[in-house]
């Protein structure tokens, strides 16, 4: 069994752990760093619940190995509200009653964070396209789209 020391910057903090090569980034975050905000759904890249941001881009943390994150900067949902107050996207989604059970929430929030960061002027069509890789079994998606649109609108007004 190959063990390797991995140092990753997670939400601005440098973290080092010794991991097996087969450890996914998702399990590394949850089990080694106790950051259980990242949810693990299908574990093979279909559902999007484990989406995190690596070096500014949304990735599925179940399809990336922890050893591959060495030296990179990872942002998880915990990093969006470091002082406990909701970030602007989270607040807009709460105001829009975007979610029900909450299982898919961190994946949607991270995917939307990365997307709005790169495309602050996006409209509904682009937002639907950007979120098309995330699955929600409760809402029917409309409330999620509403939340992201509200965040985009507030961002433009600010």
């Amino acid at each position: 069994m190959t063990m390797a020391d991995v140092t990753v910057t997670v939400n601005g903090e440098t973290r080092t752990r010794s991991v097996e090569a087969r450890r996914t980034l998702a399990d590394f975050l949850r089990d080694d760093l106790d950051l259980t905000g990242t949810h693990v759904g299908c574990e093979h890249g279909v559902c999007g619940a484990c989406t995190v941001i690596v070096d500014g881009r949304a990735v599925r943390s179940c399809l990336m190995l922890a050893v591959q994150a060495a030296g990179r900067e990872v942002t998880t949902v915990e990093g969006l509200a470091p002082d406990g107050a909701l970030g602007p996207l989270q607040q807009a989604m709460a105001d829009s009653h975007s979610f029900q059970c909450g299982f898919c929430t961190p994946g949607f929030v991270m995917q939307a964070t990365a997307f709005l960061g790169a495309h602050p002027d996006a409209g509904e069509r682009e937002i639907r396209e950007a979120l098309s890789g995330n699955i929600c079994r409760c809402t029917g998606y409309q409330s999620i789209i509403d939340g992201v649109l509200l965040a985009a609108r507030r961002g433009r007004q600010a």
Partner: protein, 298 residues
Amino acid sequence: MKLPSVEYEAPGTVAEAAGLLAEHQDEASVLAGGQSLIPLLALRLARPALLIDVNGVAGLSGMSRVNGWLAVGATTREYQAEESDEVARSVPLLAAALPLIGHEAIRNRGTIGGSLAHADPAAELPAVALALDAELVVRSTSETRAVTAADWFQGYLATARRPDEILTEVRFPVAPPGTGAAFHEVARRHGDFAIVGLAAQLTLKDDVISDARLAFSGVADVPARARDAEDLLKGQRPSQELFEEAARLAAASLDPPADLHGSSEYRKRVAAALVRRGLRAAADNAKQNAQENAEERQ
């Protein structure tokens, strides 16, 4: 499921990667973007003893124009090619196909070489490579060779890559002036593997089709070229009737598999519809490009 226990190496050079492959042969799997391989590991459909992670291999990522070709390094990520002006200009068919691959988070990790080495016949890039007669460059410790796309795809998830070879580069021919391209597909949901997909490219010279390229995804265990339809199109003026006839010929050449997403007959009907749509879109795109070129020259 969790991934099976596996050894891991992350070589820094192509020579080191080739050395590891020479030693471990098909006991090793090459890990690039991981968007297909890691699910295979999670589902225990792949059980390699060793993962050779090529993400850190120097010189494997990036794009450059070499004579009439656009050379794309094997670990160039799909989003990088998608956002590249050079790809949009030089290989419009590739540019048309890239946004249809999976979802944004998949394209952020997935690589051009990885998709072609994985060789899923339902995927977009194998059809693009086949339509354009792309060349795939592989390297072992003793030899470097280029394989044409027609020879590369040998069966379901099977390629001409030998167990001791690493795919280093994919060369796409630069589209001649007057070329238009389209990638159309029918899928249950956007981002899913398509039931049938079509890569279509037309080159127009004085409003006559001088070159036509059509390749399907999802209709066989390898991507499938529609040569009869291509031959019919060449030398003709684009027209609705011509495209109808090309669609009929292209669909007649197929014997697609049936699965829970669609019967063989349904796939043939979808294929014919895609040829009609794809050719119309490619012809419109070619005329538009010709017009833009003419305006630039003025």
